[in-house]
Symmetry: C2
Subunit: 333 residues, 2 copies
């Protein structure tokens, strides 16, 4: 099992990708990792660490795509970037997956372009792992398809189910269509049509509402990429905003340092189940390969978990299951 790792992606490259790779190798004996990025930079960092040299290789990719670069431009103008080269190696079979903590948009664009779509897939999608009272659950789409058509959302739901079952270990993933009301007749024409299509999924629980997300009423929340992207970023802002609100009270009410420490500790523990480091990256579903993107700030632990998650996806043959589950559409655009 060979996994290609973007050593030039994220806010802390090459250090965190390298430390994450070494950590993952320590946890899995039959794993090989190829670090993709500027060779000299990687080698000079590698020299500082102990690692199994026979299982940790370096592949040169001198160009770097920045976190804020325009995805389409970056992919087009930087054919020697770690993302383009790494995905190219994966496409040619030199690695079984590619993972990156880099520019999500560029990674999506390059994955779609270089890996292509799985047979029968209308559009690849980004699913995110969303924290709920039931633990991490899946939300799809979160930005790849801003005005997804019903047929696409139907496929996203099926792909999400397969991912939830085989990778996240949720036996019978409840699929919920994010809508403005529970009743079947609620929503836009597209949402009503999507509702009808989703009925062929046994575990479809119908429409769910905004209030059902954090409560974990579904395991796979289906929505278009506009709603999903806004919710993803909204959710990420909650802990920080809460911290500011609590800090304001602590300051205004002259609460002692000791008591403030207790409050902070409780809040920190309350959010601990949602530590993004455990997530293992978020997948692009529907591409003809395994491509995961992680948080820009990914720590070595987060990188390692992302690598091990990629292994799990490959071993579970998620893509074969997706192809088998989708009826080949008559007109793939």
């Amino acid at each position: 099992m060979k996994i290609a790792v973007d050593a030039a992606g994220g806010d802390h490259y090459p250090v965190n990708p390298i430390l994450g790779a070494i950590k993952a190798l320590g946890e899995k004996d039959d794993l090989e990792i190829i670090l993709v990025g500027p060779e000299k930079v990687i080698q000079s960092e590698l020299e500082k660490h102990d690692y199994p040299a026979d299982r940790l290789l370096v592949h040169d990719a001198p160009q770097i795509i920045g976190m804020e670069e325009s995805p389409a431009q970056a992919v087009k103008n930087k054919p020697q970037s770690s993302i383009t080269v790494g995905l190219g190696m994966h496409a040619k079979g030199h690695a079984e997956a590619f993972i990156s903590a880099g520019n999500t948009g560029a990674l999506l664009a390059a994955s779609t372009l270089i890996l292509g779509r799985l047979e029968a897939v209308y559009r690849p999608t980004i699913a995110t792992i969303y924290p709920t009272l039931s633990g991490f659950r899946l939300m799809v789409d979160v930005g790849a398809n801003l005005d997804a058509k019903p047929e696409m959302l139907h496929q996203f739901a099926k792909m999400g189910c397969i991912y939830a079952r085989n990778v996240m270990g949720i036996a019978n993933p409840r699929v919920g269509l994010l809508n403005v009301g529970e009743e079947e007749e609620k929503g836009t024409e597209d949402l009503k049509k999507t509702h009808k299509l989703l009925k062929d999924i046994d575990s479809f629980i119908g429409n769910v509402e905004g209030r059902d997300i954090l409560n974990g009423k579904a395991d796979v929340f289906v929505c278009d990429g506009y709603v999903g992207n806004v919710l993803l970023k909204f959710g990420e802002s909650i802990p920080e905003v809460l911290e500011k609100l609590v800090y304001k009270v602590i300051k205004e009410q002259n609460i002692s340092q000791e008591q403030a420490g207790l409050v902070g500790k409780v809040l920190k523990q309350a959010f601990e189940p949602f530590d993004y480091q455990k997530v293992g990256g978020i997948p692009f579903l529907g591409v003809n390969g395994v491509s995961l993107v992680g948080h820009g700030g990914s720590t070595p632990t987060a990188m390692s978990n992302m690598i091990l998650n990629a292994v799990k996806i490959v071993e579970a043959k998620v893509n074969d299951k997706i192809v088998a589950s989708l009826n080949k559409p008559l007109n793939v655009e």
Copy 2:
């Protein structure tokens, strides 16, 4: 100034609407209130209280629209409901506003039908008052127009600005278009077109993202009703979910009752600025009248604040300002 109040709406009628009306009358000497609902029920509750009988009238409306009834059906089949009768009185000039804690959908449908649209308005919209680190801010639309076109969103933004300035006291309301990225070229074709249209608003700050909402980056967040409705209900679920998370930690970590009490107190105070009772109801903007809907669980204080807010909207001549601000569209559907 006469305000009609739905005495048969919300979870606690007729008690809370009646107590709210009496409270509002106590705060404003030149105010008259007409309680609309089943006369006998209202009278028998009124007998329990002291109130200025010359300023608190009752108008019979024997039918009641339940909180879960289908709006269109309810409005059609219950011409003698408090909502229909109350809005009819307002339309005929017997009251200068109508407020209700009842079925939001029915109130929107009846307001549009009975009051009609303001000149030049494509579609009436529901704006909600959203809690942020900067205090309450406006989000529009939150469910009346699920797939609002750019021209509509443009009007919602202008109406929202007028409401924010004249009712919420925000001098120069920053308008933000909720999108998937800050750059002008982000989003669907409709979002890009909306962005262009919004440029004629001086205080337009461009696209904002999901993470900018709770941080209060804009004063008027503009989005379609699908996104807005999901965000509205998502936001409402946060305090309860947080409470469950914190409770779990307190239980698992054997935190003392005294310490748990402190944590609870701090959290409660942190959310206090967002007490919905202070909001004063959420407005239907663009209808030819003043119609406000409140939380189903509205307390007497919340009802009273809603009544006083209606007075403020009437006195500020919000609708005249809306008409003056909108260019008359050539083709109102």
